[in-house]
Amino acid sequence: MPLVKRNIDPRHLCHTALPRGIKNELECVTNISLANIIRQLSSLSKYAEDIFGELFNEAHSFSFRVNSLQERVDRLSVSVTQLDPKEEELSLQDITMRKAFRSSTIQDQQLFDRKTLPIPLQETYDVCEQPPPLNILTPYRDDGKEGLKFYTNPSYFFDLWKEKMLQDTEDKRKEKRKQKKNLDRPHEPEKVPRAPHDRRREWQKLAQGPELAEDDANLLHKHIEVANGPASHFETRPQTYVDHMDGSYSLSALPFSQMSELLTRAEERVLVRPHEPPPPPPMHGVGDAKPIPTCISSATGLIENRPQSPATGRTPVFVSPTPPPPPPPLPSALSTSSLRASMTSTPPPPVPPPPPPPTTALQAPAVPPPPAPLQIAPGVLHPAPPPIAPPLVQPSPPVARAAPVCETVPVHPLPQGEVQGLPPPPPPPPLPPPGIRPSSPVTVAALTHPPSGLHPAPSTAPGPHVPLMPPSPPSQVIPASEPKRHPSTLPVISDARSVLLEAIRKGIQLRKVEEQREQEAKHERIENDVATILSRRIAVEYSDSEDDSEFDEVDWLE
């Protein structure tokens, strides 16, 4: 139905009440009709003038454009004729070097805005009744919104769409970054751990060749290729270990020697992993590369709590590569959640931006307690399979698989605390309030056992781990219970690594803040030119290309 743009004012000629006391009514009606006709003619002339004015304005703008076009054509013709004598010079280089041609097309946007309302319609709008003056209540509002927005908000749908577009573009960019990182990562971590592991791996292979294969097959759920088939008397030993793991779910129950062997084997397995050509699922390979160093660190941390002899000797080697890669921000982000347990097994994966972790944190709270821990041996390897990019939900099932292998409730706080203090666990600050960790009393009680086992082997731990050893046992509960404080407790450890870690974490946090500020600035800038930027963002979405930077440049130009 067409909208009436101009209404001639005296709608009816003679629908008026006749004044009283008139003898000749017919004449009266005639005169009234004639008067109304004159009024109608006046309004008609007004609208006619308006119509011609609009048409004239449009034609006038076109005339400007035509004149400018004419000038450009003349100039071009002149320049072209001048160019003739100078033939091609450096043509190839120019073609490749010069900036690509970008046409400045102005798209029509905001067509039905209040500013583009034609005058006659504006007059019709003015005649209408105004909405209730709810804006007088605006100064009394707490949230700063206009009062009238709750009654009628003409820009509501546009704002909704704008937010959705911005969100979609951000999501797409993050996905692209993830994909880039996924593609990049498999190469980087593979290089780092390979060099130092080779020797040990060879030695271990020589020492326990068949055992390694056996353990792999059993503990890794046959994910890892069995180097050598099961063989020799060594089988019984690994078998018993496996049985212990499966049955008791408590590493503390195992004798010290067994535990140390388990740890060593776990490390060996970890070492073996990177050497395997990225297993069929590249994700696994990726997951292996990165989680391995961190797993090793967690393993080292665990080693501190428990007896560890040979393992500790290796820990310093492994710990060094870990600080750089691991994503500290994730642990800090997750520290507040109870997911630390799962986090310990997947510190490297933290790569996935914070949003996935919180969601996964919500999903996997049930899983954490059992799997989290340690599972030094199996746990170390299991984080490998879960791909880095995917949210922690994936890690949780593999971690769950590891859980049945070995679980210790008392171990919970240990790995958590250790992971947070990635290099060695922070020394025991005062016990945090019990409310934080309901399991803390249990852990405290359970820790009495490990400390006894730890003491015999503190001497074996070289380097930075030694100082941590003695204070560690009682403090293990503390680090677990105060994950939130871990960034502040880190400096207590006077290790260069901790300082470096802190710097890394701060840097990442700073980067986040900067990103946020940039986004906010962008949002402010955007408001004036929303539609064009939004339409371009749609193009980014649907094109799925990496033109983000280009679009940003265009935004700057616009």
């Binding site: 004449e27 006709i37 054509v73 071009l76 091609e88």
Partner: protein
């Protein structure tokens, strides 16, 4: 009766005459309004096509300018050809618009 009819009849006749007069005027007003609407619509459609052609011309000229300036002297022959085409189109467009 005849005396009564005359003035009344005269009045009625006069009234009918007046109404016819008013009717003529109002119908002509309606014709004017109708003409204004149709004129507005046709003018807008022509201006829109003109706008389209102008924007197409502008884009082509931009492209040619880019080719001529950035690529330097590459294919001046082609640039000239393009320019001639654009020039011809431009003049045709001008003639068309100002004819009407």
């Amino acid at each position: 009766m005849a005396g009564q009819e005359d003035p009344v009849q005269r009045e009625i006749h006069q009234d009918w005459a007046n109404r016819e007069y008013i009717e003529v005027i109002t119908s002509s007003i309606k014709k004017i309004a109708d003409f204004l609407n149709s004129f507005d619509m046709s003018c807008r459609s022509r201006l829109a096509t003109l706008n389209e052609k102008l924007t197409a011309l502008e884009r082509r000229i931009e492209y040619i300018e880019a080719r001529v300036s950035m690529s330097g002297k590459v294919l001046p022959h082609e640039a000239r050809q393009g320019l001639c085409r654009e020039n011809a189109r431009f003049h045709v467009l001008l003639k068309q618009t100002w004819k009407r």
